[in-house]
């Protein structure tokens, strides 16, 4: 029997959008996408979501329940939207770590936060979500916003996040998901595959990266599958909240 995840030279493959690529190449290809869009990432987020990404992130903050003195890890933190809010909430006695695998995104995030005067309790770490370079039972809250779908081995990443969380700590996964309404789903498909690459072409002169974005969203596990993956990784009391008709979902799990 042939393993569908194996290519001819028997290296395991994974999806990169709708393409199938050797696993060793996915991280490099994702990195290329984010190197390309880093400079105009915030602008594109506002244009493509109509500003909704700010509300989705606000909701994530609300469900995090972060308190002064907490230690928070913001994986795939990109330009630091969540980190900025967490920094205020944890106060001088707490700590926020903004981690991103992509150097360009991390640099943009660090510069942006420093420009806004966010410093003192924030550190920046270039790290792979699958192999987080932190001790066991270290963080009170771990978040990953719009990052999990770009990770090659999602199960490994979830296990790594579980490891670094303290018992009772919370993982929040904010990610694109599957719309719950058929009509909305059709409109969303048309929007994603026609408007998004066009906007990418006009604003960043890079249609391919935004085509990848639309494709990677379709390849990402739906709400129930991701919930099952989190339970499988070892999280308890896993729940999810659909936002904007299920276009985005926020999953939350507690480390036992």
């Amino acid at each position: 029997m042939n393993d569908p995840r194996k290519s001819n030279d028997s290296e395991p493959t994974t999806h990169f959008g709708f393409q199938s690529v050797p696993e060793s190449q996915k991280a490099e290809k994702v990195a290329e996408v984010f190197h390309s869009v880093a400079a105009k990432y915030d602008l594109m987020n506002d244009v493509l979501s109509g500003g909704m990404h700010r509300l989705w992130k606000r909701f994530t903050i609300e469900l995090s329940g972060v308190r002064p003195g907490n230690r928070v890890l913001d994986i795939a933190g990109g330009t630091g939207d969540l980190t900025r809010k967490f920094s205020t909430l944890v106060g001088p006695s707490g700590e926020v770590v903004l981690a991103d695998i992509n150097e360009s995104m991390l640099r943009v995030g660090r510069d942006r936060l420093l420009d806004k005067g966010v410093a003192g309790n924030v550190s920046f770490v270039q790290a792979d979500a699958e192999k987080l370079p932190f001790p066991d039972n270290h963080f009170d809250v771990v978040t990953i916003a719009f990052g999990l779908r770009n990770v090659t081995h999602k199960e490994d990443a979830l296990r790594s996040m579980l490891r670094v969380l303290k018992p009772g700590g919370r993982l929040l996964v904010l990610e694109f998901s599957k719309p719950s309404n058929e009509l909305l789903s059709k409109f969303y498909d048309a929007y994603s595959f026609r408007f998004m690459p066009l906007a990418g072409k006009l604003i960043t002169n890079d249609a391919d990266s935004y085509r990848y974005l639309a494709e990677s969203i379709r390849m990402h596990p739906n709400q129930e599958t991701l919930k099952a993956m989190m339970v499988e990784a070892g999280f308890e009391r896993v729940t999810y909240h659909n936002m904007t008709g299920g276009i985005v979902a926020l999953h939350r799990g507690i480390k036992p």
């Binding site: 700010r54 509300l55 606000r58 909701f59 903050i61 609300e62 469900l63 995090s64 329940g65 972060v66 308190r67 002064p68 809010k85 205020t88 909430l89 106060g91 919370r170 936002m243 904007t244």
Partner: protein, 205 residues
């Protein structure tokens, strides 16, 4: 989601206003880390307020525990927001307050004490010369309006009491009230004396 969007808009406006007061943000910094929950029972709404040195964060829900929880109908909450005597409203039966009430009272005091430096805000948009001209003009208009209203009030009172004799003048009323007070005291004394005499002449059993 709609409520989250609404709170985001209110938060933005509120924090702009708070930034216009030179003392509000340092005072809010002292409340940093507190979570104040306001629950409106009719209509059913919930608001979490998180003060910090950068202003207020408003949330429609909060996963952590609140330090102070205020539960009341909308009418009582509005009265609480506008009234100077908050303690009286907080003691009314339809208002429930749990936890650290000092945090809530301090937040209310900060919002009530706001003194907005609107000239500074204006100067950011119009520049120093433009804002100086406009604020000077506005200040003289406001001062003129206040003087005109004061003068109108005095003239009206004078006309009604002295010329048309429709109302009693303030001094005349004060003098009459003083007479009435004296009369009341005299009556009380008389009443006490009669009572004492009645006790003296009461036949012993």
């Amino acid at each position: 989601m709609l409520l989250t969007g609404l709170y985001a808009g209110v938060e933005l406006g509120l924090n702009r206003v708070l930034a216009m007061d030179s003392t509000a943000l340092p005072r809010l910094a002292r409340l940093s880390g507190k979570v104040i929950a306001v629950e409106c029972s009719a209509p059913n709404l919930q608001l979490f307020i998180l003060p910090s040195n950068s202003g207020l964060q408003l949330a429609s829900q909060w996963a952590g525990a609140a330090d102070c929880r205020l539960r009341a109908p909308a009418a009582s909450l509005l009265r609480l927001a506008s009234s100077q005597d908050k303690t009286r409203i907080l003691h009314s039966p339809e208002v429930e307050l749990d936890g650290d009430s000092a945090a809530l009272m301090e937040l209310a005091a900060i919002l009530q004490d706001l003194e907005l430096d609107w000239e500074y805000e204006l100067s950011r948009w119009l520049g120093p010369v433009g804002s100086q001209l406009l604020s000077g003009h506005l200040r003289s208009r406001v001062s003129w309006s206040a003087q005109a209203l004061d003068s109108l009030r005095l003239n009206l009172a004078d006309y009604l009491s002295e010329e048309s004799r429709s109302l009693v003048g303030q001094r005349e009323a004060d003098s009459r009230f003083a007479e009435l007070d004296r009369l009341k005291l005299d009556l009380d004394r008389l009443d006490a004396r009669i009572e004492r005499l009645a006790q003296l002449h009461k036949p012993s059993a």
